[in-house]
C-alpha cells in the first residue's frame, strides 16, 4: 500500500493507492494489472512530487499571476491560450530538484530498456462524474532520462493547459489544491490500436457497445489525425450491428479487425466493467493474445453541442490536419478567394440593368456566405499553425521570452505591410513637392473631398501642379489596390478623404516618415533569422530536424495567411457592399427606398428581389440606414458603475504587453470611419480591436490600446511589425478612456496609466 509521502508508486500497486496520490487513471491501470490484464508496465510519479516541484520552483505564484491578471470571464480563448503557453514555459524552465529527479531516474532504470509513454493522471480527472479526455498532455516515445524529465514537466504543466483552463470549473482547478500524478509506462506500439466503449456515449441507455480501430498508434485516432473503422455491437450478445470503414484514403477497405478480435474486445470490455464497476472507455493496442490495455475510464457523454468551448478546442488541429490545411489554404483557397474578389472587382456594375445587378448581388452574397463558412472551418483552424510552432519552439529552446518564436515568423511580405509601404510612398511624393503639399492643404481639398466623385472633380487640377499627375495616379491606385475593403459596411475605396488625411500628416511630420516595417518585439539581439533558425533546429536535435522544419514552415505560412485571408475577405465584402449600395441608390432614385444612411450588406437579398420586381412598391428593410457603431463594450459591473458615478475613474489599467515600448500621448477612441478622419499623428489609438481594415492608421499612432486580448492577434502582430507599443486585453477600454485624455502606454508591462500623477485636488484652495 502506497504511503502518503511516497513519490514513486509501481503501477502494480497503484490500484490500491488513494486517488489523491496517484490519480484515477493510474489507479484504474493498477487494478487492471492486478486482475491479470495485459497492461504496459511502469510506475506512477505521485502527486506529492508535483507539489514539491511547484513549491520549490515557486510556480504557484507564477500561475496565480497569469490567472489573476483579470476576471476569468473577461478572458478570451486566445488569452487563455497565451496564459497556458507562459505557464508551460515556466514549468519547462524550472529544474526538477535532485530529490525528485533521482527517484524518477531510478524507477525508469528498472523498466525494461526501450521507449516509454508519459501520461497524466490527475485526481478527479477521470472521476465517474465527468471525463474531460484530452485536456491534459501525453508524451509518447520518450527515449532517454533527460527527455523523460522534460516530458514529466510537460505533463505537470498540462494541469494548466488551455483546455483545462476552459473547463476549470468542472475540474475544480485551484492553485492551492489541484495536483497531478504522472504515469510512466513502457511504450507499446502494435500494428492496430483503438478505443472501446462499454456503452454508446451518445445514447448510453441503448444496448450497444462501440469499437474503433486505426492502424498504428491510438494517439493518432484520439488527435483526429486518422479516421477509425467503427463497429457498433449489441452489448448483450456481442453481435455486430454495423461496421463503418474509416476514411483513410485507401482503396477497397478491409476491416482492421477480424471477427475473433471483435469478439475478444467485446468480452474484455464486459469483464473490465465488472471489475471497475462502470461501463469503461478503454484505449487498447494489439489484437488477440497481444491485446494490451492502455487505459480505462468511465464512459461519459460527449459535451453538449452548444458548448462553445468544444469549438475552441477544435481550433487546435493535429499535425496531419494542419499539413492538409496548409496545402489547401495556401495553394487552393487563398488563390481562389483572391481570384473571386478580383473577378467581382472587374464587373462594371453601373453598366448593368436592374435584373443583372440583382443577379450580381446574389452571386456576391452567396460567395460571401460561402467564404465566411470556409473562413470559420478552415482559415481559423489553420491559424493554429502559429500557436503550434510557438509551443514546439518553447518546448525545444526553452527561451526566457515566451514569444521569442515570433522572431522566426516576422517580416514576411504581408498585404498589410505592402499597404503601409505604399502609404509611405504617397507621403514621400508630397514631401518632395512643396506645391503638392500646398494643394493638399487647400480648403477645397480638405473640406471638399469626401467621396470618390468629389475627389475626381477636385483632382482634375492635379496635372497642372508639379508632380501632381503622378500623385493622382499613385493615389487612385492606392485606393483601388489597398483600400478595397469595407469598414462597418462602408467601402473604404470610396473614402479618399480618410487617406488624404493620413498622407497629409505623414508628409508634414518633419521628414522622418513612417517607422520602418520591422519587428518591434525582437529585443537587443542582432542575430539574423538564419542563425535563429539554426539555434532552434539544434535545440530540437538531428532526429527531429525534418519534423521541426515542417512545423516552422507551417507556422510561417499560418502567420502570413492569417492576415492576408482577412484582407481578401474584406475585399470580397467590399464588392458585395458596392453592389448593395448601387442597388440602394437606384431604389432611392425610384422612390422605393427612403434616402439617406448606409444600407447594410445583410439587406442584399431584399434589395435584389426589389430590383427584379420593378412594380414591387416600397422596399422595407429591417434597419434602414441605421449603422451600428461597433464598440465591443459589454457593460461589466465596473463599467456601469463607472458611468453612474462620475467620481470613479480608472488610474491604471492592466492588460497584456503585446508590443514593447513606453509612450505618453492623447487618446483617440476609434468607433467609426469619422474617427479615422479625426485621428492625428502621435495620438494613442484606442479601439475594440485593430482590424485589417484599419491598419492604415497604425503608422500614425504612437501606441495602440485594444479591448481584444492576445499576443498573436492582428493588432499585436501589426504593432510589433511597425515597432508601435501595444497593450491589449483591457475590458471596456473604449468606454473607460476618452478622446484627448493623457495616457501612458507601457508595452513592456502591459499597463496603461491614465492621467499624470497630479495632486491638484489635494492642493485646491491653497496658494
Amino acid at each position: 500500500m502506497a504511503a502518503g509521502g511516497q513519490l514513486i508508486v509501481p503501477l502494480g500497486e497503484a490500484g490500491d493507492a488513494p486517488e489523491d496520490l496517484v490519480g484515477g487513471k493510474a489507479r484504474g491501470l493498477g487494478r487492471l494489472l492486478a486482475a491479470g490484464y495485459q497492461v504496459p508496465g511502469g510506475f506512477c510519479i505521485a502527486t506529492g512530487a508535483y507539489e514539491r516541484f511547484i513549491r520549490e520552483a515557486g510556480l504557484g505564484d507564477a500561475i496565480q499571476l497569469e490567472l489573476g491578471r483579470k476576471s476569468f470571464t473577461e478572458m478570451r480563448w486566445e488569452e487563455i491560450w497565451d496564459a497556458a503557453l507562459r505557464i508551460r514555459l515556466a514549468f519547462l524552465r524550472s529544474p526538477i530538484p535532485p530529490e525528485l529527479a533521482d527517484p524518477i531516474r531510478q524507477a525508469h532504470a528498472h523498466l525494461p530498456s526501450g521507449p516509454v509513454a508519459v501520461r497524466s493522471s490527475a485526481p478527479g480527472e477521470d472521476g465517474i462524474r465527468g471525463t474531460f479526455a484530452g485536456l491534459h498532455e501525453s508524451v509518447t516515445d520518450v527515449r532517454d532520462g533527460r527527455s523523460l524529465l522534460n516530458a514529466v514537466r510537460v505533463v505537470w504543466a498540462s494541469l494548466w493547459s488551455d483546455a483545462a483552463l476552459l473547463y476549470r470549473r468542472e475540474l475544480g482547478l485551484d492553485v492551492d489544491r489541484s495536483r497531478m500524478a504522472v504515469i510512466v509506462q513502457e511504450f507499446v506500439e502494435k500494428p492496430v490500436s483503438g478505443v472501446a466503449f462499454g456503452r454508446d456515449p451518445r445514447s448510453p441507455e441503448e444496448d450497444r457497445q462501440i469499437l474503433e480501430a486505426v492502424p498504428g498508434l491510438c494517439e493518432d485516432m484520439v488527435s483526429g489525425a486518422v479516421d477509425p473503422d467503427r463497429w457498433t455491437l449489441e452489448r448483450s450478445s456481442g453481435k455486430v450491428l454495423h461496421w463503418r470503414p474509416g476514411q483513410r484514403g485507401q482503396g477497397d477497405p478491409e476491416p482492421l479487425l477480424v471477427p475473433e478480435d471483435v469478439a475478444s474486445l467485446h468480452e474484455t470490455v464486459l469483464s473490465v466493467e465488472t471489475l471497475l464497476g462502470y461501463p469503461p472507455d478503454i484505449e487498447w493496442t494489439g489484437r488477440g493474445a497481444e491485446l494490451t490495455l492502455l487505459q480505462a475510464r468511465p464512459v461519459t457523454s460527449p459535451a453538449k453541442r452548444d458548448d462553445e468551448r468544444r469549438w475552441y478546442l477544435s481550433l487546435r488541429p493535429g499535425s496531419g490536419r494542419l499539413s492538409d490545411l496548409a496545402e489547401r489554404v495556401a495553394y487552393e483557397l487563398i488563390p481562389a478567394l483572391e481570384a473571386e474578389g478580383k473577378g467581382f472587382a472587374a464587373d462594371e456594375l453601373r453598366a448593368m440593368d436592374d435584373p443583372e445587378l440583382a443577379e450580381a448581388i446574389l452571386v456576391r452574397h452567396e460567395a460571401h456566405d460561402r467564404w465566411k463558412r470556409i473562413y470559420r472551418e478552415e482559415f481559423i483552424p489553420f491559424a493554429h499553425g502559429v500557436r503550434r510552432f510557438g509551443q514546439y519552439y518553447n518546448d525545444a529552446v526553452r527561451p526566457t521570452d515566451p514569444y521569442e518564436f515570433v522572431r522566426l515568423l516576422e517580416n514576411q511580405p504581408m498585404f498589410a505591410s505592402l499597404r503601409n509601404d505604399a502609404l509611405a510612398h504617397l507621403a514621400e511624393h508630397v514631401r518632395r513637392e512643396p506645391s503638392l503639399a500646398g494643394w493638399l492643404e487647400r480648403p477645397e481639398v480638405v473640406e471638399g473631398i469626401t467621396r470618390r466623385d468629389s475627389w475626381k472633380m477636385v483632382a482634375a487640377e492635379l496635372p497642372g501642379i508639379p508632380g501632381g499627375e503622378a500623385f493622382r495616379h499613385a493615389f487612385e491606385e492606392f485606393l483601388d489596390e489597398h483600400m478595397n475593403l469595407t469598414y462597418q459596411d462602408e467601402p473604404l475605396d470610396d473614402r479618399p478623404d480618410l487617406i488624404l488625411n493620413i498622407v497629409r500628416q505623414l508628409a508634414t511630420d518633419g521628414g522622418e516618415g513612417l517607422p520602418p516595417t520591422r519587428g518591434g518585439y525582437a529585443e537587443g539581439s542582432g542575430d539574423d533569422v538564419q542563425s535563429r533558425e539554426e539555434r532552434f533546429l539544434t535545440a530540437v536535435g538531428p532526429e527531429r530536424r525534418e519534423e521541426a522544419l515542417e512545423v516552422l514552415q507551417i507556422g510561417r505560412l499560418s502567420w502570413r495567411l492569417r492576415d492576408d485571408d482577412n484582407i481578401l475577405m474584406g475585399r470580397l465584402r467590399n464588392q458585395l457592399q458596392h453592389a448593395v449600395a448601387l442597388a440602394a441608390q437606384r431604389l432611392e432614385g425610384a422612390g422605393r427606398l427612403p434616402s439617406g444612411g448606409r444600407v447594410k450588406s445583410s439587406a442584399a437579398e431584399t434589395l435584389a428581389e426589389a430590383l427584379r420586381n420593378p412594380d414591387g412598391g416600397p422596399v422595407r428593410l429591417e434597419e434602414p440606414g441605421k449603422m451600428a457603431v461597433s464598440g465591443g463594450s459589454r457593460g461589466s459591473a465596473e463599467m456601469s458603475e463607472h458611468r453612474e458615478d462620475p467620481g470613479i475613474t480608472p488610474r491604471q489599467l492592466v492588460g497584456q504587453p503585446a508590443a514593447r515600448g513606453l509612450v505618453t500621448g492623447k487618446v483617440r477612441v476609434i468607433r467609426s470611419t469619422e474617427d479615422f478622419q479625426a485621428f492625428r499623428k502621435d495620438e494613442i489609438l484606442v479601439c475594440d480591436a485593430i482590424q485589417p481594415t484599419m491598419t492604415h492608421l497604425v503608422p500614425l499612432a504612437s501606441a495602440i490600446v485594444e479591448r481584444r486580448g492576445g499576443m498573436l492577434i492582428h493588432g499585436a502582430i501589426i504593432a510589433r511589425e511597425l515597432g508601435v507599443p501595444c497593450v491589449n486585453g483591457l475590458p471596456n477600454v473604449t468606454d473607460l478612456l476618452q478622446d484627448g485624455e493623457l495616457v501612458t502606454v507601457d508595452g513592456h508591462l502591459g499597463v496603461v496609466t491614465v492621467g499624470p500623477p497630479e495632486f491638484d485636488l489635494e492642493r485646491k484652495g491653497e496658494r
Partner: protein
Amino acid sequence: MSRDDEGAPGPNRSEPQESGESQDPSLVHRIRRLVTTQPYGVLATHGGGQAYGSLVAFAFTEDLREAFFATPVATRKYQLLSQNDRIALVVDNRPEHADRMMDVEAITVTGRAREVPHGPDRVRGADRLVARHPQLRSFVAAESCALFRIEVVRFLHVTRFQEVRQWLPGDS
C-alpha cells in the same frame, strides 16, 4: 463579415461565460469593505524634506469622506502634522492573502489631517474611533493624545497587483 472573428471568436460571439463566477463588487463597496475589515493603516506624513510612515488605528465615517485617528502630541508624526497637514493613508488586506498576491487589495487615501479641538466634535470623533477600537478608550481620552480628522480627497484602489482606480467621494 465581422472582422472580430480573426483567429478565434471574440466575446461578441458568445464567449464562455460562467454564471457561477462571482461578479466583481463595485469599487465603493470594495473600499468600504476594506476600511471596515482592516483596523490599521500606514499614515504617511512628511516634513523637512523627509517622508515618514506610522501605523495608526482608524475609523471612517459611513460616507467615507472622513476618518479619525489619534496620536500622542509628543510623537514625530504629531510634529510633522502640525507643520504640514497633507497626508496619505494606506490600508490593505495583506494578512488575509499572504500567499496570493493577485488577491491583495490596497487603498491609498489622500487628503488632509487636522487636529480636532476639544469640544463636541472631538467627543463625536473620539466615540467613533473608540467604537471601532474599544481597547483605545483610555489612550484616546488621555490629555496628551490628539485626535485627528482626515478629510478625504480621493481613494486610489489597487487590486490584481497593478489595476488602479480612483474614487472621489466628494463627487458622488
